[in-house]
């Protein structure tokens, strides 16, 4: 499984959404499941799958599906 496939799967599993919902429009609080609790679950799942620990500033900044690409890049995870 590629990093991109892992990234997509985390979003789909954590937020209970389908692959066609993984677009630039997917941002924090744009859907019911990506609320504050969903955010923490999403972050925890990403950390587990990619074996990283995100900095506080990056967790706060992780406000969209698209933004995650750049943030994970800081941890040497290319999507």
């Amino acid at each position: 499984m590629t990093n991109l496939e892992k990234y997509k799967k985390v979003f789909m599993d954590s937020l209970s959404i389908s692959e066609n919902e993984l677009t630039e429009k997917l941002v924090y609080n744009s859907i019911e499941t990506w609320d504050s609790v969903g955010h923490m679950g999403l972050i925890a799942a990403l950390e587990e799958v990619f074996e990283i620990e995100l900095d506080t500033d990056d967790i706060i900044d992780f406000s969209s599906y698209k933004k995650g690409f750049g943030i994970l890049g800081k941890y040497n995870i290319e999507l």
Partner: protein, 157 residues
Amino acid sequence: MGNAILKDLDAYEIQQYQQNRYPCFFLDYVEEAIPGERAKGYKNFTFNEWYFPSHFADEPNVPGFIQIETLTQMFLMTFLTIPENKGKKTGFVSVNNARFYKKIIPGKKLEIEANLKSYNRGLAKGTSIGYIDGEKACSIELTVVIPDVFNKFLPSK
């Protein structure tokens, strides 16, 4: 998590860790709390409890919402005993699979065992189970948040 195990906390000492107060404070004693792991202790229900005259006059028993709150307050002791969390306010996120197996009447002692499944960035998940006379009386799965901690990690919009 490497924090010191706490033993034999009375009601006054418990209130140093959580902000629940009478008439919404429902723990009498914590026998042991392992910060970041589990807590156990008990609540004695006497006929003098404020809710027995109204629930019910001819058949006093502990209301379900008070059983849930009692189980929850023991659960709080699994993570409010982590030194940096001591005394912080908490809020419910969810209570799932609440089960009530026995009617709890005046004079009974509810022994409670709470286990923390996970605690991360102010979000605590776990279970709490109450026993009467050695038999399971009530149980819940719950998620509780420490807003002071949790809110620091949320995107601004």
